[in-house]
Amino acid sequence: MSVITLTIDGHLVSGRAGQSVLEVSRDAGIEIPTLCWLEGLSPWGGCRLCVVELKGEQRLFTSCTTVAAEGMHVVTRSARLENYRRMLVELLLAERNHYCAVCVVDGHCELQSMAARLGVDHVRFDYLNPPLPMDISHDLFGLDHNRCILCTRCVRVCDEVEGAHTWDVRGRGTTERVVIDLDRPWKESTSCTRCGKCVQVCPVGALFHKGVTVGEMVKDNSFLMDIIKRRRSAQPFVERRRS
C-alpha cells in the first residue's frame, strides 16, 4: 500500500493512497466537523460541514468525498470556512423544529453540540416551522420528522450494513423526508428487521427508543466499526470453510 504525504493546516501528514482527505486528517488528529459522515458508512457529501480549501483551487471540496493526493495543500480551518459552517448549522436549525429543551437527545445531540462548538448562539434566519408528523407506531422505536436533518445515515446503515434497505428518501428539496418502504407506518414495514441500527447512528433526535424522555436518549454507534472490521476478517474464514 503506497504512502502519500500532504500538508493539512500547515502540518506535514502522511496517509494511505485511496484515503479521503477527511480520513487522513482525522488520523493525524485534525478534527473536521461533520454531520452526515460516519465512519463505516459510504460518504454522502450532503451536509457540507467538512468542506476544506485546497491550494490552487477556487471552489471548496468536501473532505469526506475527496481522495487525498500526494502534495495536496489542505486548509481545514479559516474564517471563511468557519463562517460557512456556522451558517449551515443555522440553516439546519431553522429548517425544521429543533427544540433542544424538549428533545429526547438534549445533551447528547450531534447537531446541538456542533452548534455550540461552532459558536452558533442564535439563528439569524427565519424559522420555517413546517408542520411535520411523527411515527410512533412501532413498539420499540419512534421517528420524529421534526428533528431530522436528512443526513441519510439511517438510509445508508440500513442498506449497507443491515442489508434491508427499509429506509430511503422521498420527495425532494424542502419536501424531502426519510421514508419506510412505500411510506408505511414503521409498525407495518415488511422489510424492517427491527435491528435498531438506524436509531443508533441517527445524530439527532429524529430516531429514538420509545419510552425515553427529554435528554434520556443516548446514542451508541460503536457497533458499526466492530461489524465492519469483523466482516473484513470473516471473509477468509468463510472461504476456508468452503475449501
Binding site: A164, R170, G171, I180, D181, L182, S191
Partner: protein, 151 residues
C-alpha cells in the same frame, strides 16, 4: 418489465409505462414493481416521489396546466394561476375535492412564443388572460359549448 429484462436501471421507464397505463401510481402498483424488479420498496417510492412527472394520486377529470416558465411569468401567468386557485379554492398541483378539476403549474412547456400559455385537457391555448382562462375552464366544467369543443 419483461421488455427491460427487470433491470433495476429501467425503473424510471417502468414507472413511466405504469403511469401511462393506470393514470397514476397506486401503492399496489409500486409494490408490484418493487417486487418484480427486486428493488427495495423505499427506493421505488423515493424515485417515484423525486420526479414531478409521477403522480401517486389519481388526477382530476379535467386538467388545466398553466405554464409558469419565465416568458409566461413575465407575461402574467402568475395571475392566471392565482385566479384559478381562488376560483376553485385549491392550490396549484391539487385537484378539487370532487375530483373534477386539476390545476397545475408547469415549469416550462416550451412554447414561450405563445406566452402566457397553458393546456386545458391537453389542448394548448396561447396568449391567454386570467379572465379568458377562467371562462374556458368554467365552460369545460359545465360541459358547455367550449367544453365539448375541447373534447
Amino acid at each position: 418489465m419483461k421488455r427491460v429484462q427487470y433491470r433495476p436501471d429501467a425503473l424510471i421507464e417502468v414507472l413511466h409505462v405504469a403511469q401511462e397505463s393506470y393514470g397514476f401510481l397506486s401503492e399496489e402498483i409500486l409494490h408490484v414493481i418493487a417486487r418484480s424488479m427486486s428493488v427495495p420498496e423505499s427506493q421505488v417510492f423515493g424515485v417515484a416521489t423525486f420526479y414531478h412527472f409521477f403522480s401517486l394520486r389519481p388526477k382530476g377529470e379535467h386538467s388545466c396546466i398553466v405554464c409558469t416558465g419565465t416568458a409566461c411569468y413575465v407575461k402574467g401567468a402568475g395571475e392566471i394561476v392565482t385566479v384559478l386557485e381562488k376560483a376553485y379554492d385549491i392550490k396549484a398541483g391539487e385537484t378539487t375535492p370532487d375530483g373534477r378539476l386539476h390545476v397545475g403549474a408547469a415549469r416550462c412547456l416550451g412554447s414561450c412564443s405563445l406566452a402566457p400559455m397553458l393546456t386545458l385537457d391537453g389542448k394548448v391555448l396561447g396568449n391567454e388572460t386570467a379572465d379568458s382562462v377562467l371562462e374556458q375552464v368554467r365552460g369545460l366544467l359545465s360541459g358547455g359549448e367550449s367544453g365539448r369543443e375541447m373534447r
